[in-house]
Amino acid sequence: MKKNKMIERVIHGVFLILGLLTVGCVLLITIYLVISGVPAIAEIGLFDFLFGTEWASTATEPKYGILPFILTSVYGTAGAILIGVPIGFFAAVYLSKMATPKVKAFMEGAVSLLAGIPSVVYGLVGMLVLVPAVREIFDIPDGASLFSAIIVLAIMILPSIIKVSMTALEAVPKEYEDASLALGATPVETYFRVSVPAAKSGIAAAVVLGVGRAIGEAMAVMMVSGNVPNMPSLFQSVRFLTTAVASEMSYSSGLQQQALFSIALVLFLFIMLINATLNFFLKKEKD
């Protein structure tokens, strides 16, 4: 009898530990990034690090300014959102409200596939189709540029935007739409003036999720953006926060490597901010 109670208590403890595992992982990641990221910032100086416009980590007199990466990530994400969100949004309205079951089933499969394709495959196709096309069309020496990266990112965030928006739009009570139709609004007017506003928190969540995906993507972007630490310009080779970490990690050491950890820390802070925003919208949608 006492033994049984003991066993139950031990098992409860084991499950408690498993339950806390996610919290532990978040702490582990945070602590590691802070511990390994802060020293370089301290050495370089926070201002010089964040607002320095020049990154020359391997020069004899190395410079560690990451403003080019920050701006590239921000512009790249903004560009991807600008292109991806409207397409995803209109497709989501169509699929959730107007599409025939067959079209909807096909497109749901297509969107899942889009979400499942590995990012290196996007990078590969981007490298061989998009980059040459951009070079030809805009008549620039190299198509590997911020513009190419924006297109790839816009495509990669499409599935998140479509799926999350669709879920939100489908959750709109049919009574709202019926009421609008009964007042003489056409179906299309109803969808955009009643259903979309009713689902706005969910759609906002979709956009924020897209922002998170875009800012965190590394491999595909690395393959199409040229990877030179320039200040961002649409048709120039650029480097993102993610690709800055990835491209030098394998051969870096000392302060250079520590600076890469600092970049990761900056990226992490961006992501935490985005997560908090996302959570805000998701909670709002639940209510």
Binding site: N4, I7, E8, I11, H12, V14, F15, L16, L18, G19, L20, L21, T22, V23, C25, L28, I29, Y32, L33, I87, G88, F90, A91, Y94, A99, F106, G109, A110, S112, L114, G116, I117, P118, S119, V120, G123, L124, V125, I155, L158, T186, E189, Y191, F192, G216, A218, M219, M223, T242, V245, A246, M249, S250, A264, L267, I271, I274, N275, L278, N279
Partner: protein, 283 residues
């Protein structure tokens, strides 16, 4: 009669919807067809069954296929018990709502962290701190953290569908908590675990940034135990290396085609499984 302004609005909205949906569909079809056309001709038995040799200049991706397989297996072996256990804690044990909120927020946070950061922390923690060096095991453990929220969430969802009356019935017979969980709760969450596995496999197959610095780039042919302790490239990492560093686009597309087929298979089986369990639940 609709006014001209309304007609214009409706027309514009409809056009935007058709164009957006059409564009998305065209994009998917283009990607699939392009990758297959470029990749399938390069898939040969020799490519699939050999390892690369600098002497003969031959490229084989067998090591990468095996590495991927090892990573998938090792990750699942760890992530399933951990994820299921976390879900059981949340649905069966946790009474404190704030704690549940914190755990769920942590899971949410984990699924939002970019894989490059996982790669970095995995390198610092598993490769350096725990001394696993650059190895498939270090890569797998990194992926365990990445996939933990997925398995946890799908299991949690399916645990919620186990009727409370089953638990009451078992408690009413004098069964202890652990026995109730083992005998009437766990059998009810098999569908969630399977769904979680399929989603995780998909994510593992597609992952590259998290593996780059944890599992490395090697193409050595190894058995599973040897493999787990040595560095090795997964299919995605191999694709990256062949395309970006070596300019071997034929091989890269062959790998891309294989990955595409696997993705299709995974999506297909995910649909099948969810349909099967939905039907079963109705009975």
């Amino acid at each position: 009669m609709l006014s001209k302004k309304r007609k214009l609005y409706i027309g514009a909205m409809k056009a935007a919807m058709y164009i957006s949906t059409g564009l998305t569909a065209a994009l998917v079809i283009f990607l699939v067809v392009y990758v297959f056309v470029k990749g399938v001709p390069h898939i040969s038995w020799e490519l699939l069954s050999t390892k690369p040799s600098y002497i003969s200049g031959r490229i084989g991706i067998l090591p990468d296929i095996l590495n991927t397989l090892y990573i998938v297996l090792a990750t699942l072996i760890f992530v399933i018990p951990l994820g299921v256990g976390a879900a059981i804690y949340l649905t069966e044990y946790a009474k404190n709502k704030r704690l549940v909120g914190i755990i769920e927020y942590a899971a949410e946070t984990l699924s939002g962290i970019p894989s490059i950061i996982y790669g970095l922390v995995g390198m610092l923690f598993f490769c350096q701190f725990l001394g696993f060096k650059t190895s498939l095991l270090a890569g797998s453990l990194t992926l365990v953290i990445m996939n933990l929220p997925t398995v946890m969430r799908t299991t949690q969802e399916s645990l919620k569908t186990v009727p409370q009356s089953y638990r009451d019935g078992a408690f009413g017979l004098g069964a202890g908590k652990w026995r109730v969980i083992r005998t009437v709760v766990l059998p009810g969450c098999v569908d969630g675990v399977i769904t979680g596995c399929i989603l995780s496999i998909g994510r593992i197959l597609g992952e590259s940034a998290a593996l780059l610095f944890t599992a490395g780039f090697a193409h050595a042919l190894n058995g599973i135990f040897e493999g787990l302790t040595s560095p090795g490239a997964s299919l995605t990492v191999a694709l990256y290396v062949y395309a970006k560093e070596q300019g071997e686009f034929g091989v890269a597309f062959a790998i891309a085609a294989i990955l595409m087929i696997l993705t299709l298979l995974i999506n297909f089986s995910a649909t099948l499984v969810s349909r099967y369990f939905a039907k079963k639940r109705e009975l």
